[in-house]
Amino acid sequence: MDGQGQDFKWIGKRTVRPDGVDKVTGRANFGADFSLPGMLVGKVLRSTHPHARILSIDTEKAHALPGVKAVITAADLPDIPSEEAHFGEDPTDFRHVSHNVMARDKALYDGHVVAAVAATSESIADEALGLIEVNYEVLPHVLDVEEAMKPGAPLVLEDLITGGVTPTPKDPSNIAKRVQFDLGDTEAGFKKANMVVERRFTTKPVHQGYIEPHAVVASTSEDGHTLVWCSSQGHFMIRAACAKLLGLDVSQLRVMPAEIGGGFGGKITVYLEPLAVLLSRKTGRPVKMVMTREEVFRGTGPTSGTVMTVKIGATKKGQITAAEATLAYQAGAFPGSPVGLGCMTAFAPYDLENVKTVGFDVVVNRPKATAYRAPGAPLAAFAAESVLDELAKALDIEPLELREKNAAKEGTKAPYGPRFGPIGYVETLQAVRDHPHYSAPLGPNQGRGIASGFWMNFGGQSSAVVNVNEDGTVVVTLGHPDIGGSRASMALMAAEVLGIDIAKVRPIIGDTHTIGFSDITGGSKVTFASGMAVVEAAGDVVAQLRERTAMIWEVEAEGVVWEDGHALPASTNVGEFEPLSLAQIAAMAAKIGGPISGRASINAKGAGPGFGTHICDVEVDRETGRVVVLRYTAVQDAGRAIHPAYVEGQLQGGAAQGIGWALNEEYVYGDDGRLQNPGFLDYRMPVASDLPMIDTVIVEVPNPNHPFGVRGVGEVPIVPPLAAVANAVENAIGVRMADLPMSPPHILAALEDKA
């Protein structure tokens, strides 16, 4: 069951994207595009202190301002108990989500929401925010992960006891959790090594950088039901979180998915949505809330800043004997950094007998860290793949050869325990070796680096409905928001199973009242998991088409087969019948049992792990410190590329984000604990002119657990670039850059140190 040897009609075709016309013409409706009559404008007041006790909030003057319809603070939200929430990356706590949405006793970071208003216009809402009087007791703050771990550091959460250590500590600290994964005996492994390399790395928090700010409209009717329009990575997640935070039944909320202008993990939680619902319920009017870009930077995301140490030992011949990593990740103001995933992924591309990773999840006075595309993995891979490169140099072995010698294969035990099934890492290394980029000549001050990356990929709960229209066209309704082109892939899989033209298939995203529960779009799951649901639902339709044909022909259903979009007699024994097309059967549906509709609601299992290897060429300007990426090639095992152009787009997008992370992006805080660069002018993301055309190579080692062999592809491509760029820079100037970003001042300082 992976499609091997099958001759596909639609799988693998580069068809026109179903959402393309609406998006290029501006007709597509994103979160902020929705409006209703009588709608109020909602705005939030944010703390400008990184850490302060809220002594009192006086909203009287704001309430009294004409045009203001509601003012809310944490006192208006239920003080809910702790309860584990699973939105993505590491589990979080609904109580913490509530306290992040609206500060309760303390403001924990610059940008933390302390109050919200709904008013008849934006200007009145802004004026009302200025009339809210918050009396703060300013507290010492801590931003740095190592400072936060020290005894005596200001306590971000005063009741936080470190988990994962025995005995349980008596005193609170900023270390939320310690995790450890190990195989074998690293001490013995390092004794067998002829060469050991150990290095410390640091990285800064970076934002997911989605182009669309968070936006929501909530409208409550007199019967207490609220409609919510917003863009997110999971409208069922929005419903669950709003219900939990506000003490509502989930059936009181209907969440309509808008088109989404990027998420990358940053939209798997709630920020404005519960506040908009509450303001709407208080006023009885629709309320719209839209973040500014500054609010996006100060109040949402980012991913963790880190301090990491990696140590790898190997024999003279390049056999790795042991590897260790200690990772400390900033969680932001509440526990839940992706450090566990960093520990699990750091050395996953390699077949290691002795490996140990230890992680610390550390709270600091920054916005709560949120998932960012393969959460935790790019950081750990930056450290591990950099040390691997340094080790290769010390052993005088080609870096690619060192990776080949130690590559994980089917049967290899992952560093977190389980053995891999069929995987395509070795194939990505071979594709790199065979690629003309790998052997192309380099000029002065130019360097080439390679790095690999891993992501486990996920399945999960997915629902799909396939409705056959009376003219034989088909509507496929899906439960996952389409972020990376899933509608196109779902249409292709439905067309393949049904055997009809792709132009006859229209894929749409259902809302929370019209389609069965589906998990968030995240974890590179949708083409895999939702695809399995679509294949099953389309198969359900085929079974019904065979039954309906059997009724028309007056034979048993077993006597009918479905081939190339037509019902045919299974053999001459069944009788002589002209083939019936899907459209012909659909036209007769009323007479043979009514509408034809297939459905599937599944918990998809068997996601296939993904591996990628990237080649990066850079040129370093020794006078200015500027690094220019000259050429970049991303190679990845996709299992089976359902829509290759979208897979290539994922590889290019992940590489572009990773290059930005490596070279320029960082949150800059002042000594006062306030964010100094909350905008795209000062937060430097790569633009098209910063990057070369990113070449891609898709390797296909099918996942045996999917009908067409699909593996997730969206997250792997952001894992290798940080190290690939760093390894290229080292190759160009002979300096190992262990601190990100490798921005011009840092490159110049490193060159100066070397001199």
Binding site: G88, T166, G265, G266, A371, Y372, G417, R419, E715
Partner: protein
């Protein structure tokens, strides 16, 4: 009997640091019941927040997944992605 591997955190909390165990069970539900019997308090922890890998395949919401007599079973943190 299935070879069961606990996370270090669970092993330290409930099993005196022992990460590798042999447990008779034909599915995950039976396994968790057997572990709860052996280490009171571990069962709810496993059910609430853990994924299971059986012979290399990871199950995020395990319940009745079969376990063979020679299966290798890992309890892992229940995790997602971005």
């Amino acid at each position: 009997m299935a070879q069961v591997v606990l996370t270090n955190e669970l092993a330290n909390q409930f099993a005196g640091g022992e990460t590798k165990l042999e447990v008779p069970a034909e599915n995950v539900r039976q396994l968790i019941r057997a572990l709860e019997e052996r280490y009171p308090g571990m069962g709810p922890e496993l059910e609430a927040g853990m994924a299971v890998a059986i012979d290399g395949e990871i199950f995020a919401d395990p319940f009745l997944e079969p376990i063979g007599p020679d299966s290798e079973v890992y309890f892992l943190p229940r995790i997602g992605g971005g």
